[in-house]
Amino acid sequence: MATTTAAAEAADAAGGEREPVLSVRDLRVWYGTERGPVRAVDGVTFDVRPGETLGLVGESGCGKSTLGRGVLGLTPTGTALSGVVDFKGTNLVGLPPKRLQKLRGPDLGLIFQEPMTRLNPLMKISEHFEEALRTHERKLSKTAIRERALEALRGMGIPPSRYNSYPHEFSGGMRQRIMIALALVLRPAFVVADEPTTALDVLVEAQIIKILADLRKNFDTALVLITHNLGIVAEACDRVAVMYAGHIVEQGDAREVFANPQHPYTKELLRSTISLSTTGLHYIPGSPPDLGRPLEGCRFAARCPVAMRGCEEHEPPEVVLAGGVRSACWHQALEADPSLGEELGKDGREPLAVKEISVADEA
C-alpha cells in the first residue's frame, strides 16, 4: 500500500493527473416499463481516478442510484444500457453477464443505503465472507479466509468474537460496517457507495464517512459517494457531480463548485441547504420532470430562475470553465462562445416568462 500512496503523491507533486480507473462516456440507462422507457440516466460523462472520491448529488429521483448500478451492470431485466463504461481498458457496457459477475466484488464494489436488509438472514457473518472470498479467490485456504475476513472486520471495528453471529444480532450501524468490510475484503479498485449513511444516526454517519474517507488513503480506492448531504460532499469528496433529471449539469473540484457554483441548479441546490447560518428556508419551486416522457431543451428550464426563451427547446452544451469545472447551461455557453447564440434563435435570449408555479399548484 505504501508504494501506491507514494506513487500517488509523486504524481500529485508532479502536477500530473493519474489515469482514470473508470471513464464513463455518454452513458444512458433506460428502464423498460409498460408506459415506455424511463430515461433515468440520459447521457452522462465523468471520470474517476485512483484514490479519488467523487460526490454525486441531486434531488430524489434524478437517477443517482441508477447511475451507480448501471456502471456495475446491476440493472433489472428490460433495462437498456448504451454508451461506454471503460474500466481499466474494458468496456463494461454489453459485457457478457458471466464476465461482469467476475468483476463485481474483486474489481467493482457497491455499498447500499439500507444495511438492515442487505445480509442474508439465514447466513452467519462468517458464511457471507467465506462465500465471497471462495467465489473470487478459489485457492484461498480456510484459515486464510478467516484471517482475511477478521482483518477486514477489525478495520471496521467489528470484534472477531462476533464472526459467527447472525445478521439480526447487529445494529444498523454495525451491519453497515459489516457490509463495507464485505465489499472491501475483496479489495476492489472502484466502489460506489449509494447513500451509505442515510438510514443511520449522525454519530454513526460521521464514523462511516471517516471510514470511507480513509479508504482512498489506505487502499487507493476510487469512490463514487452518492448522498443528499452536501455537508458530507464538502467534507469527504475531492470532486462533485450535480445531477438533474438524468443529466450531470455541473461537475468539478468540490471546493471550487461549492465556493463558486456556476449552474443555476447548483446555485439553487446550495441555497436550499439548511445550515446553522441559514435564515429562512429556501426551496426550489416545482418538481423535476417526468423521466418517462421524451424531454427536449434544458431539463431545468421550467424551474430555472434565469431561464431564457431558447432554453426550452435547445439543449445547452457542456463547457469547461476556469478550474476545470464543467457546466451545462446556456449562460456559461454563451459567455464561452457568443456565436453559439445563433442556435437559440432571434429572441431566444429574452428571459422566459416565468410560469406561475405556486405552492397551490404543487399541492
Binding site: L72, L110, F112, P121, L122, T135
Partner: protein, 340 residues
C-alpha cells in the same frame, strides 16, 4: 453455540406452553359444535327403534342427561387421560379404532405429502425462478386445476385411467387378508416389512400410489403457488441484489440465497395444510374405500354415532395442534431469528 441451544430450548418450552390454550380452545370448539348439531344424537343413532325408557338409559350411559358444564368437564378430563369415548353403535373404544385404522390414514397422508413435495417443490421453485415463462403459465393452470377439482373427481379420474392397468384402483383390505401379514404396527407396509413379505410390501405400495396421488394433488396447488410467490418475492430482496453486487455466481444466488429463504414460510404453510390434508383424507378414503380413520368417520356420521364422531374429530384436532408445533420447531432450527 451454547447460547444458541439455550435460545432453542427456551423457545421449545414457550411453544409447548402455548399449545395448552390452543388445545383447550379447539376442544371447546369441538364440544360446542357437536352439541349445536340438530337432532338428538342418541335417538338418531338408535333409528327410532327403542322405547323411551331404553333411550333414557342409553342417554344416561353416554352421560347426556348430565348438565352441560359437567359434560364439558368430563369430556376435557377424559381427553386429558387419552380417553376419547366408546362408540355407540358397535361399542368400540375410539382409541382402539385409531390404533386399528390409523396406520392406513398415516400411510395415506405421508404418501400424499411425499407426492405433494415431489411434484410441488420443483414446479414451484422453477415457475418462481422463470416467472411468466411458458412453464410458469402451465404450472399456474395446473395448480389452480388441481386445487379446484374435488377429491372424488380426481379420484374417479385416476381410477378410470388406471382401471385394467397395472395399478390397483381400490381396496387395501382384501390384500391385508389374503397375504396374511401379522398386524404389529397396523401400518400395513411396515407390518409387511417386519414379516419380510416383500410381495406384500410391493402390493401395499402399489395400492398406495393412486390414493396418495389423489390426496397429494389436492394440496399441491396451494403448495406450488406458495413456493412460487415466495421465490418471486425473495428474488427481489435486498440481500439478493447485494449478493449479486459481490459477484456471487447466479446459480448460488438463486439456490443458496433465494430458494432457502423462500422455503422458510412454506414450511409454516405446510403445517397449516395438515388440517386440509386430514379433511381430504376423509374424502380420499371414501373414494378408494381405504380402511383409514376417515372411512370410519363417514360410517359413524351416517349412523349418527355422535360419540364416535366427537372422539375422532378430537383426535384430528390434537394431531393438527401437534403437527403445527412440530413445524414450529423445525422452523426454529432453520431460521435463527425465530429462536430469540
Amino acid at each position: 453455540m451454547s447460547k444458541q441451544s439455550g435460545g432453542l430450548g427456551r423457545y421449545i418450552v414457550q411453544r409447548l406452553l402455548l399449545a395448552v390454550p390452543m388445545v383447550l380452545i379447539l376442544l371447546t370448539l369441538v364440544f360446542v359444535l357437536m352439541r349445536v348439531a340438530p337432532g338428538d344424537p342418541v335417538s338418531a343413532a338408535a333409528g327410532g327403534k327403542l322405547s323411551a325408557a331404553q333411550l333414557a338409559e342409553k342417554r344416561h350411559i353416554a352421560g347426556l342427561d348430565k348438565p352441560l358444564l359437567e359434560q364439558y368437564w368430563n369430556y376435557i378430563s377424559n381427553v386429558a387421560h387419552l380417553d376419547f369415548g366408546t362408540t355407540f353403535v358397535d361399542h368400540r373404544k375410539v382409541t382402539d379404532l385409531i390404533v386399528d385404522n390409523g396406520g392406513a390414514t398415516l400411510s395415506l397422508t405421508i404418501g400424499a405429502l411425499i407426492v405433494a413435495i415431489l411434484i410441488g417443490l420443483p414446479i414451484g421453485l422453477f415457475s418462481g425462478r422463470f416467472r411468466d415463462s411458458a412453464f410458469d403459465v402451465g404450472a399456474r393452470v395446473f395448480s389452480i386445476t388441481t386445487y379446484a377439482a374435488p377429491v372424488f373427481v380426481t379420484g374417479l379420474l385416476a381410477q378410470l385411467v388406471f382401471s385394467g392397468g397395472s395399478l390397483p384402483v381400490s381396496d387395501q383390505a382384501d390384500q391385508l387378508m389374503s397375504l396374511n401379514v401379522d398386524t404389529t404396527t397396523h401400518i400395513y407396509i411396515v407390518d409387511a416389512m417386519i414379516a419380510g413379505n416383500w410381495d406384500a410390501v410391493n402390493d401395499a405400495l402399489l395400492h398406495l400410489v393412486l390414493p396418495s396421488v389423489t390426496l397429494g394433488l389436492l394440496i399441491v396447488g396451494v403448495f406450488i403457488r406458495m413456493i412460487r410467490v415466495n421465490v418471486i418475492q425473495t428474488l427481489q430482496g435486498d440481500y439478493i441484489e447485494a449478493a449479486r453486487a459481490r459477484g456471487i455466481k447466479e446459480s448460488a444466488v438463486v439456490t443458496k440465497h433465494a430458494f432457502r429463504n423462500a422455503l422458510v414460510p412454506v414450511i409454516t404453510v405446510l403445517g397449516l395444510q395438515v388440517a386440509m390434508l386430514l379433511g381430504g383424507a376423509v374424502l380420499t378414503e371414501k373414494t378408494f374405500n381405504w380402511p383409514g380413520i376417515g372411512l370410519m368417520l363417514i360410517q359413524y356420521i351416517n349412523q349418527r354415532d355422535y360419540v364416535a364422531v366427537q372422539g375422532i374429530v378430537t383426535v384430528f384436532a390434537l394431531v393438527v395442534v401437534f403437527i403445527s408445533m412440530l413445524i414450529d420447531f423445525v422452523n426454529a432450527l432453520i431460521d435463527p431469528r425465530v429462536r430469540y
